[in-house]
Subunit: 187 residues, 3 copies
């Protein structure tokens, strides 16, 4: 991902991600993907709030459908997908990472979690469901209820990420894991 | 709670707790509650067995309905509720604590857990469901199947309580947590 | 279990296990069982692949029904059943162990887990469900998705087994646990 300033998920950017993933799925030479960001210290800051603030019902609905379409493709993808979380990953940034098969995160002053409630929003139930699958019921209840943003080490402790490594090893570790997921015979 | 000798939950006491909670929910100046006991070394010893032993079907049904009404209010409350578990908390005492948003427990020779099976009863399925949400499937299977009563440290380890502190810090820690739950914008 | 070479689960062997368990359930003097193997370093190597390779649909269906019948009896048994895992326990060997009430495993160069995917098979959804109940969603997703075989220590860490002990203490520890499950008043 490389959409300045913070990989905010606008309708246009989500559509681009969805199309790219679809192409990779249809490319027989591709069996795995590393999802990461080219922006220093930021994986993704989540939804682009311009898409939801003072918009019409129609516009908001269309935006939401675009997000759900992308999420269903990402979560249900036949490709092995490893998130290499190189920086901040709040709200829908966290959701994208959780929808991958494995998560490696950089050490550093980065936060990850469902912060929606701190700005008066509630993380949608399907966001919460994905967190339950990742961290269990109780951690989700607390994390989503309090809007906690976790450090990489805290995220590792509750199972929100699978591994925390120095930034210089992020991509090599992600690749190493991806190879593990690709090792078994495919369909 | 302050019903000698051990905050046993009689129909009358449960009704009183339910009414108090309802009043607090209707009081706009109240957004959070600390549930604790004024009785030394006892949070609650659970259901008052007098309500169930050699009683008519009608009487037992009415008692059970009273319990369920209270539980639904407690578990589903819009208030933030922190349990400050100052002592023993077996059976329905444990259930009450688990139905709060957060649990702080005193260090000390106190036990907490679903002990029903040790006297030949089975913890009702909705008790078990709440434990699953708190501790996960496997811990619940063992704890409810064996009727295990946990020390505060053991309870912390399996996630049955969230924090264990010296008795002198119990209320201040509970208050600290409550403020965390109240920090985010309400409806 | 004592079916050389590796307690492979043929239709005949599964039927024998099922019948034995049924007899024990109908024997009022029996309330608990320890499931273990007489074969050195092997608990069970799982399904007998001869039953599934190049067989007719009818034959495979009958085999599968036999397996499900046994599993339902084992998992739902009114007896307390402790698995004393004395050696290797891949695939359906792991499934049998997980279907008991408690698992003690021997230290040693033994592996346990759902390895199906490494040979191009997928662990059936009811296998996966039992692992979710034992280890939670995320561990199951990874373990079944990657076909991971765990050492006893790794299995303990993710909750796949409950205890790891030196081989010489395996049966005494299993018996000790069984007594815990039998301590409470039965029906």
């Amino acid at each position: 991902m490389n959409r300045v300033p913070g990989n905010q998920l606008s309708k246009e950017f989500i559509t681009e991600l969805n199309t790219t993933l679809e192409k990779l799925e249809n490319d027989d030479s591709c069996r795995g993907v590393i999802l990461t960001s080219a922006i220093d210290s930021i994986f993704s800051l989540g939804l682009d709030s311009n898409e939801m603030y003072q918009k019409s019902i129609e516009s908001t609905s269309a935006f939401w459908r675009t997000l759900q379409d992308f999420w269903m493709r990402l979560y249900g993808s036949k490709l092995a997908i490893v998130a290499a979380i190189n920086g901040r990953s709040p709200a829908t940034g966290c959701m994208m990472a959780m929808s991958c098969d494995y998560r490696v995160m950089s050490e550093g002053p980065f936060d990850i979690g469902f912060s929606e409630v701190t700005v008066g929003l509630v993380a949608p139930f399907w966001f919460q469901d994905v967190m339950v699958k990742t961290c269990g019921e109780r951690q989700t209840e607390m994390a989503a209820g309090l809007g906690t943003l976790f450090t990489p080490e805290e995220a590792l402790k509750i199972g929100l990420v699978d591994e925390v490594v120095p930034p210089c090893h992020l991509i090599s570790k992600a690749r190493e894991q991806l190879l593990k997921w690709l090792k078994n015979p495919g369909k």
